[in-house]
Subunit: 230 residues, 2 copies
DNA sequence: CAAGATTTGTTCGTATGTATA
DNA sequence: CTATACATACGAACAAATCTT
């Protein structure tokens, strides 16, 4: 008797194959045809399994080229949270509020480590991103790119890949969900940009307390708006 | 001209359909046949799209019964992190270490709020889980269930669904990945159980400093082992 | 630039397993 | 037990993208 356990079996077997053959992110996977041979299942089943693995970013599929071991990013988390945020009907900003609170918690929780990690290190890259933000705002353009790069740069010194990806994931959900909802109008942008300056200043001075204060200032306008509409 | 954008299009259209028709978690989705009609694509395409949504826990499929709107849990995050941990070959405990550090950061970051949230609230449920841990350990059984329930109970008062799910997700990765790797032997279990008691004590006393100390004690044996093998 | 080979993407038809009434 | 509705699996054919010769 064949047991095709709801297809989840094929997913597990392909995962095992990746581990067993010692593949790393970026390496080419066997072709669909080869997997059909080796696993003894139909191509449709292999395709559905690959689809699952692809949506988890465990593999990356390139049409007409091939399939490769993925980077296992937190893209699925972003997808799920974004959809959750959109599912909250009308004025229910619960998911967005929770994501922002998570961002705050994350930034505050690493204050100590961050100050130590940046001691005697060059903060010029982070400072440069603040300048990019200022320039973009002055030119009337969006400064989302620079904002994202700034936070990534600050977190990079932690040496914790997961935390960095978490921070970026929350950033993505935050900035993507904000325009989709009936959210209060943006507050004074200059205050936001100055908050970024304050964060760099605090790290440069090695002052944990100042860092926490700057982080709270960075989020305070939005945080107030979100909790107010509770 | 037809646009079959790598099938990701179908996923987006099904997502939109959920939002447009105002479906909520648990509600039944249209059948595959109906989706084939409405979207004008083949059954296989619908199936692959549903497979993607299923692995993201946006829909839930029950064989022979139907598909329903899912609960959008963080299961995909757990899957991805677990695979990342298994992919680190040999003695590389990087992912596990990063997950544990994320747990610590999360627990520490909410100390203040947690103390306030538990003020004048009944901590008996959390205390009961500690007793279940103690009983299970005395009987030589695993106390994983009680441990998981304990941390969930503590976080529940936060009123932040996302943080609670994040904590649980990290817990799952932590406890599932630990046995898979060549990890140092378990330290004295009684100390771990006592750390849980100390957390409840701190919350009962409304003492943030004691809470942080208890959290560090809770993780310190493992944290030391993981960073030592760096 | 052109032709062909390789690989993934889409579709159809059919048969089978599973839960519900 | 039967009938119905539904999801699961398979295989074959053709379309589209990419790379190589």
């Amino acid at each position: 008797m064949r047991r095709n356990d709801a297809g989840g079996d094929v997913v597990a077997r392909i995962k095992d194959l990746i581990l067993r053959t010692g593949l790393h992110p970026g390496d080419p996977m066997p072709t669909e045809a080869r997997l059909v041979e080796e696993l003894g299942v139909a191509r449709s089943s292999v395709r559905e399994a690959m689809r699952t693995l692809s949506s988890l970013d465990i593999v990356e599929v390139r049409h007409g080229h091939g399939t490769f071991v993925g980077r296992m990013s937190l893209a699925p988390l972003v997808d799920g949270l974004l959809f959750r945020a959109r599912l909250n009907d009308g004025n229910d900003l619960r998911t967005l509020r929770e994501v922002v609170q998570a961002r705050i918690a994350l930034d505050l929780s690493i204050g100590q480590r961050l100050v130590e990690a940046w001691r005697d290190e060059d903060l010029a890259p982070a400072r440069a991103e603040v300048e990019r933000m200022r320039a973009a705002h002055a030119a009337g353009r969006s400064f989302a790119d620079a904002d994202q790069a700034f936070h990534a740069a600050v977190l990079s010194k932690l040496g914790n890949e997961l935390m960095m990806q978490l921070g970026d994931a929350f950033w993505q959900v935050h900035t993507s969900a904000l325009p989709l909802l009936d959210v209060p109008p943006a507050t004074d942008i200059r205050l936001t940009i100055e908050a970024h300056d304050a964060i760099v200043d605090a790290l440069e001075a090695g002052d944990t307390t100042a860092y926490e204060k700057a982080v709270r200032a960075h989020y305070s306008p939005l945080d107030r708006n979100l909790t107010a509409s509770e």
